[in-house]
Symmetry: C4
Subunit: 281 residues, 4 copies
Amino acid sequence: MTQPAKHTWKSKIHEVIYEADTPAGKIFDVILLILILLSVALVMLESVANMQIKYGTYFYIGEWVITIFFTVEYILRVISIKKPSAYIFSFYGLIDFISTIPLYLSFFIVGTNALLTIRALRLLRVFRILKITRYIGEGNKLTKALKDSRPKILVFLFAVMILSVIAGTLMYIVEGPEHGFKSIPVSVYWCIVTLTTVGFGDIAPVTALGQFIAMVIMVLGYGIIAVPTGIVSAEMAKKDTVEPDQKGLRLNTQVCHNCGARKHQDEAQYCHKCGSSLHYD
Amino acid sequence: MTQPAKHTWKSKIHEVIYEADTPAGKIFDVILLILILLSVALVMLESVANMQIKYGTYFYIGEWVITIFFTVEYILRVISIKKPSAYIFSFYGLIDFISTIPLYLSFFIVGTNALLTIRALRLLRVFRILKITRYIGEGNKLTKALKDSRPKILVFLFAVMILSVIAGTLMYIVEGPEHGFKSIPVSVYWCIVTLTTVGFGDIAPVTALGQFIAMVIMVLGYGIIAVPTGIVSAEMAKKDTVEPDQKGLRLNTQVCHNCGARKHQDEAQYCHKCGSSLHYD
Amino acid sequence: MTQPAKHTWKSKIHEVIYEADTPAGKIFDVILLILILLSVALVMLESVANMQIKYGTYFYIGEWVITIFFTVEYILRVISIKKPSAYIFSFYGLIDFISTIPLYLSFFIVGTNALLTIRALRLLRVFRILKITRYIGEGNKLTKALKDSRPKILVFLFAVMILSVIAGTLMYIVEGPEHGFKSIPVSVYWCIVTLTTVGFGDIAPVTALGQFIAMVIMVLGYGIIAVPTGIVSAEMAKKDTVEPDQKGLRLNTQVCHNCGARKHQDEAQYCHKCGSSLHYD
Amino acid sequence: MTQPAKHTWKSKIHEVIYEADTPAGKIFDVILLILILLSVALVMLESVANMQIKYGTYFYIGEWVITIFFTVEYILRVISIKKPSAYIFSFYGLIDFISTIPLYLSFFIVGTNALLTIRALRLLRVFRILKITRYIGEGNKLTKALKDSRPKILVFLFAVMILSVIAGTLMYIVEGPEHGFKSIPVSVYWCIVTLTTVGFGDIAPVTALGQFIAMVIMVLGYGIIAVPTGIVSAEMAKKDTVEPDQKGLRLNTQVCHNCGARKHQDEAQYCHKCGSSLHYD
């Protein structure tokens, strides 16, 4: 990839932070990823009572180190891009903001600490490193297969919902509150638990009629599971046959300096979204 | 769509109530849908004990308001169609009737209140509003795939049933009433719970032999789940290849004034069922 | 179908009992089916304690009536066929015998009563009545798809078994007898329960490490479920494309008078197995 | 297959131990298989408390007999191959070593006995006997289908993990430690249990909001199960169409005397890996 001749400090930061195909960019991304994983692990461990008692202070320090790093990173991201609003209101921009703010908020509001796990969403960035083009391609294929089968899935979900409400009411009438089916919403909850074959067993039918209805629901659920699978399988098989034509283009990890758009092709010279040059000068 | 020149009040009501492609018809359908959802929510919340205590009176008033609306709607539907019996004994006509009557019945018979959830079935009307042609098309495709694989599914269900009876008896002999397998029907119930991978855990084998048989049943159930999935997948893949030819026709939401038939094509001038003109005059 | 000119009483009985395409044969089959269903229902209800106390005598009488009918039917089947051994040692012949004998045995050995549910296997005859050619065709297709994917399924089952033994041992070491993992066989049982996503919950990991391993097993099981489904789906899709060629031949329900072979084509004049004429004379 | 003219004792042992297509080799493999199965069964039974009390001594003796046999076999495998290191550090070589050593170790370290179940891995050898070429082919196909869909599966697993962390935290906040959701890691564990439709029921939501979130997770899990299935199905269908071209070559069970490489074709004269002659001389 041809790089611009003159490098300002802004363009350098932009390259390191936003791109993953230069050595510096790669190292930055790996460090970022490790810190995100660490921060998520920290929040999880903090919630374990006897961990918190033993290592509470270390957790607190670690939390602050990571938050400060994230704050600096966020500020750099905002100033190194030509059009900051494009980053700030983008999907990743909002996640970055929301995952940085909770610790500051915890000074004012108690309990916001748990919000720190939103940082897990930042893990989505991981795909940028692991041979990004290939994985994003797979992810897109998955997303596309799901999107294309959305009307089918909506019809299916709607049918499941109506079935659950009817069957839940039936179970409420048959079993009644004395066997754990306390109200219709709880019965509908039980119905979903059974239809999806999860079957916690916190509530279970006791009367003969209730067990019979449960059997019908279970066999139905067993049959119904075939429907979304069939939908996605068919959609996926279709996708795979179309694939060869799409395989030609290879995306890289460059990010437009002007509007922050991603997914530029390898030979692209201008941003496919705002039309400004991809070379920083 | 060309509309008739002379509008009687009956034809106007017919248009508003039965069709969803005029603005008035759309608004009516959305209001109807909201009321149906509200009424289902009401019945569900009423069954929650402490909700009923707090807001019981409001629930009761809301229930009556909705029931009166449904009653008026039902009467209008009957009088605005030329051949009322065609509507009254149609699928939706029966559902409309059954979902209106329970509150009136509750004067005479105690406990019919819970029947109000049958109103959930009225939710099926939702498909008429959400870009109907597309969703009904998807729904039809799903239904067709299921209908075409019916003989395969019946054979499969029959095999599952015979297997459950045999395995249930076996478990009853091995585990016996002292471990929760109280009778053969209960054992068969447990068997279905296990085969469908629901696994409530209200009954679980205790003896070594019982656990061994349970393992065999589970692995079988695990393998068997592949069968309906495979059936529907194959059927669906077939459907998708046939699809293009069917895509040509677009259905609208018009309903015949004479016989109440639905699913007319966009250019249709006469009802495809009874042959009378689709124009009201 | 051309029928033999001279009818002896044996040939008449043969026609009624073994074939389902004459009116008399159809009526006989339906009666037989109802009696089989009744007898299975009887055995199941007998096992329900308070049913047995109330209606025990009726159950006993009903049991005997059915057993005598089955005995007479069995004797007629044996004497109306030219080569009795062909029937006696056939699959259905053995099932018929085993499902007739238990009540007689109960005079000598206590507890054989429960064996009466083997009669459920006789239900397989139902396929002969319900438009047999179509359903047997579907059944054969299912069986063939399963048989063709047998090597794949065996490899898969073997892998699952090895995985279960290893993971079960691991859980036994990690959780130990004090958390319900009493021995390696019990741990392997728990492992199968988890891998197949049944999840009874009678045994559940308590330690952090145990829960972590359980998570890995569950996600594995979740992924593994895709394998048999994929196998059968692929096999089934293949079957469906081959189908048209096989559709040409139509089987009927005739049974050879000499050797008892089934599945003769509609125009067949001679048994495809022993070569003797299908006309009784 | 043409065999070498001069047989040294080493080449004879090599033939018996490493190959499965001579009668002696087949018998050796069957004996080995039985001993492996026996040894795994022994370890499993030993862990059952009352079995250990009754038959402990026999288990101990059996264990030693098998271990001595395995030791001898291991030594013979090492000395009968020209390049011992090729065997010792191969997959099977390591398993053979690890599954032989635990009993010796148990003299020095207490508790290593349970490691004996690693012997289950040796069961993988069973595939060499059961018409190996065919089954290895199927196994390879399965492995290949899984390998080809690895990027898709990784993306999928990653998405599941992120979803679990977020939903687990949500449940921890909503339900809290008083309803069993003791910490975020435990909540994430519960989330995986629910998403995979295992549903132990050791932890179950109690509050209305918790049950609502659980319902969403379950329906999601139900939908998500379709994704890996769809992936593998599509991959498998692809594999099956490519199959015919690969079917031409047949592998045998010969093992190179020099480097221990397997999977030689039936007409192969030289090792496909190190190039040395397959004839021992």
